[in-house]
Amino acid sequence: MIKCHSETIRTPLCDAVLAITSDTNAGIYMRENTFGHLNLRGNPTDKAFLSSIETVLALNLPLIPCSSVRSDVFSVYWLGPSDWLLMVPIGTESQVAADLRDSLMGQHSAVVDISSAQALVNLSGVKLPELLQKAIVYDCDPTHLPVGKVVQTTFAKTGVTLCRCEDGSIDLIICRSFSDYFTLWLRDASAEYGLAVVDACLSRPKVSAQT
């Protein structure tokens, strides 16, 4: 039995993983990574908007569809032509949001802290491709979903944002309110492979620079 560390696994995922039996040869490994999540909206053709963001993050927003950029501190995902997800170290989201709002003062833009609405689950393991094929119609082959690519699609009957990590694993961002559904589905789908839950890792995102 894997022990669930409630200090590190914060979402309702915690309840669902308690019953999972540990398997050293598990085909699927699951880990929740906790970050602050900020949603950014603004006009990508407005140079003032872009430079205001860059001033705070020391990053250029990804403007290429389905791409991401990353620094040592932040990750930014493209969600739409005027819509980004910014992931910041847990605990800094209020300060980063305040800094962004200061920098964007008077501009047509929005910064919203959505940390409590979302959860990030990292999946890895030798059976990951098979598992993803059951849940996701999008082609998650590394040639189609390369490192750094961000895809919003469906996971079974809920929505998900996918991003391929440098180590070949996949980050899945789900609505926290769907974490029970997500985990039950995951347990069922990975029963034939074995599912192991890894302690939450509080390090920075492993997402690489955009492709």
């Binding site: 569809p65 389905c66 819509d83 919003q152 699609t153 929505g159």
Partner: protein, 99 residues
Amino acid sequence: MLQIYCPYCQELREETEFSYSGEAHIARPLEPQQLTDAQWADYLFFRTNPRGIHHEMWYHASGCRRYFNATRNTQTYEIYETYPLGQQPALTCDIGGKR
């Protein structure tokens, strides 16, 4: 299942990511209070429902959450093009299609 090209995500995605949102290029009357009931009803309820080429809105609900337009053949389901809101279709007539 249809595969639909989202002009914002710029790739083909499965139909399950999208939802259909009705006929495109319907301009809201600038002064609704000036219209007769018949004109208002026509704006609200009456659609062309063509057999053949049709310009319609789709919503990338599970993806980028943007509306865009598509030119689709209502007989064959073939989608000829998709294009962002605010743009005009490249294809506007069809053999046998009434428009």
